[in-house]
Symmetry: C2
Subunit: 409 residues, 2 copies
DNA sequence: AACATTTGGCAGAGAGGATCACAAACCCGT
DNA sequence: ACGGGTTTGTGATCCTCTCTGCCAAATGTT
């Protein structure tokens, strides 16, 4: 049921403390030793020993910090080494594919995104595209042990914990064991995890974006469909099998239009890309270019474009009011399509929230556009890939030591 | 952000292990020592030392178990002592008030419920009623240190962590600091926690009811209003300030009827008690008696009663489909009103779920009536009151020792 | 230049669980 | 009834990890 039904021992303490240090350095950036002491509540001695191991493993480095004018012996600045441990992140979106190499500490060492024609691309073709894209990005890591994991974001319903792609309607996929196939194609031997694009967008905003430091977050993702990523009490809501967060398929208008999912009146049918384009009189299947055109027209005051945005904004507000009531989040982050239309819908959303949401929850929530924009799911995939290192650094300490690896015991 | 940013030490390990043992005994009932060894993963030696402390504090006892036919030395049965540590639970519902005394291990030592006329009862009157009700129940604990905490369930929106009753529309309360007032009136010096009735119903079903052993649970509560209690990843979803779970106010029919909360088309306006009674042609304000009459009529085949139940069942299914999509729970537990009408709506709900919910999540969820029925929130309040003991038993070890208490150090 | 302040370094202490050998208590077969 | 096999409780000792306390180092201040 939870971690605490399993017995703890001294080793557990070490692991937790090492994890706390590594997590702080990865998430909050460089810190002095004394700041680490303050943050973790450990003593200088304990920090020293633990840091010693991390330094020996080349995961972190200590630098003499420039004098900062305070009395007392200066504390060296500890920072994560971005090239000792890196992860590969992949994003399989509807209009594009992307790949990134992210170093421990969060530095983005490389990032490539290519647009793709919309439509049902086969799994094999997609994998070929990704391998081609990842090749040069991955090149610097060949021959070293720096690559520790791969994370993949997919616009679809993904089963946890095995990462099976149960259904990706906009890709035309069903029950695809993506991790296995990609692992072989990429020629990497590290763990590969797959997750839903919205869930990873939420994780990215939580760790690197507009929700840093918060515990209860709703990330709303708009690709062709509408997805949601939920952070509850500081941790991702996955549900029983990883299918949680599908807010786009709440039947918000049960007498409304049929949804491609088989249901009727889903929120997506009112706020999705197709709904927006249809109401504004654009080609529903046109995708990204059509949305660009719509936004350009709206900027020049086109009444039909503005009316369509107002309608979508209204339905956005209605649905968000319900979700705010259910989840009582501190922040709602608008990603994807909603990030792009945010300037045109922000006021309407606030109005609807005032009208419909419970006062207590309403007063606490802010609605903001995504900070990471299009790259949120990609960077979230990287963060997911770092999770194993962050929660148990001890398991990784042996693998980076360049000297100890050569010599025997 | 989370527990693991704070440094761990040996003492933490002891606390966690003690907590694991106490939790197992409280939640799973009597276990042999060897079963505890298996469950916690600790060694016999460690279990022995930890149990020694618990026995010395009189929190648990060891009995020679009746021989059970297996070879090897028999392992003594360890069980929680129900009278060493007890909690008082109070339930302030719309139609009734209840009080219970629950012992460590979960035994209900006393339970009293009294009906109350519906309407706006003052805080002072309610407190007086509760004190009168609690008096005899609490009598056996006077003069001892057995009472460790009080938990209160209220049909309203409660702020965490201080338990302020922000709004209880069916009681007519607003911003009531209930814990302070009740503590004085009851004459107890122990911590008092207050929480929402649906949240506690969910907790009770998770620990003692139909959701035992599950991690993702939606408890749907129907008093006059409709509330929800969510268990996500094994722990309660509270949201940023404790207001989470208000599923009754999802705008499921935005062109529908105004809700007393100020919004329009809330789920509650379609499935709440008033909606049920209205559609069946009964007095909306009649409350419990009217519902009983409706159910009796439905049992004899009354078309209007059955039609109203069918309509409510349909809207129940529609809303649950959305919630199942969002939360991907393993189980949905119907409490309160929905527990009572379950036989009449179960089939309709399942049909609507088949029609509207995403296949992946739909396949995993079961819809069941509450096992604990009317007492779920009350028993949940008791479980909440036990939380401090379960998560840090070490803090309580000193207070029960009858011998050590007398002699000083 | 002397002092105050903060921090790193290091040895010893303390806490807590694991290990291991042994004894106790049960079963079963003869 | 008796001895072997099996499982479990007991207790001494060991191992791991952090804390405590003292000293040295590095900086600012007077």
């Amino acid at each position: 049921m939870d971690w605490d039904v399993v017995g703890q021992r001294s080793e557990t303490v070490r692991r937790a403390n090492l994890s706390a240090i590594v997590r702080e350095l990865h998430l909050r950036g460089p810190l002095s030793r004394s700041e680490l002491v303050a943050r973790t509540g450990l003593t200088r001695s304990a920090i020293r020993v633990l840091l010693g191991e991390l330094v020996a493993a080349d995961l972190v480095s200590e630098d003499r910090r420039a004098h900062l004018g305070t009395p007392g012996r200066p504390s060296p600045l500890v920072h994560a080494n971005p090239t000792t441990a890196v992860v590969l992140a992949l994003d399989i979106a509807v209009d594009s594919c992307a790949v990134a190499l992210v170093g421990f500490g969060g530095e983005v060492l490389a990032l490539q995104r290519v647009d793709r024609p919309r439509g049902h691309l086969s799994v094999a073709d997609t994998i070929a595209d990704l391998v081609q894209l990842a090749g040069p990005v991955l090149a610097p890591t060949r021959g070293s042990d720096a690559l520790i994991a791969v994370g993949i974001s997919v616009a679809g319903i993904i089963r946890r914990p095995d990462g099976l792609v149960r259904m990706a309607p906009n890709l035309g996929w069903r029950d695809v064991a993506l991790a296995n196939q990609l692992g072989g194609a990429l020629g990497v031997q590290v763990p590969i995890s797959v997750a839903n694009e919205a869930d990873l967008g939420a994780l990215a905003e939580l760790r690197r974006g507009s929700a840093v430091g918060l515990d209860d977050v709703l990330y709303l993702s708009g690709e062709v469909g509408v997805g949601g990523g939920l952070i509850v009490g500081g941790r991702p809501l996955t549900g029983a099998a990883g299918y949680g967060g599908e807010v786009g398929h709440f039947p918000i208008r049960p007498d409304g239009a049929p949804c491609h999912c088989g249901s009727v009146g889903c929120w997506e049918t009112e706020i999705g890309e197709r709904a927006l384009l249809r109401q504004a009189g654009y080609d529903q299947g046109g995708g990204r270019d059509q949305v660009d055109a719509l936004l350009a027209d709206a900027a020049t005051g086109s009444p039909s474009a503005l009316a369509a945005l107002a309608a979508v904004g209204r339905w956005l507000g209605i649905g968000l009011a319900g979700l705010v009531n259910i989840l009582n989040p501190q922040i709602v982050v608008l990603g994807g399509l909603f990030h792009r239309i945010h300037p045109f819908v922000a006021a309407t959303i606030e109005t609807e929230l005032d009208r419909l949401a419970l006062e207590a929850s309403r007063a606490l929530v802010r609605i903001v556009p995504s900070m990471l924009a299009e790259d949120a799911p990609l960077l979230g995939a990287a963060e997911m890939a770092f999770d194993a290192l962050l929660s148990d650094p001890a398991g990784y300490l042996g693998r980076f030591e360049p000297l100890a690896a050569a010599g025997g015991v």
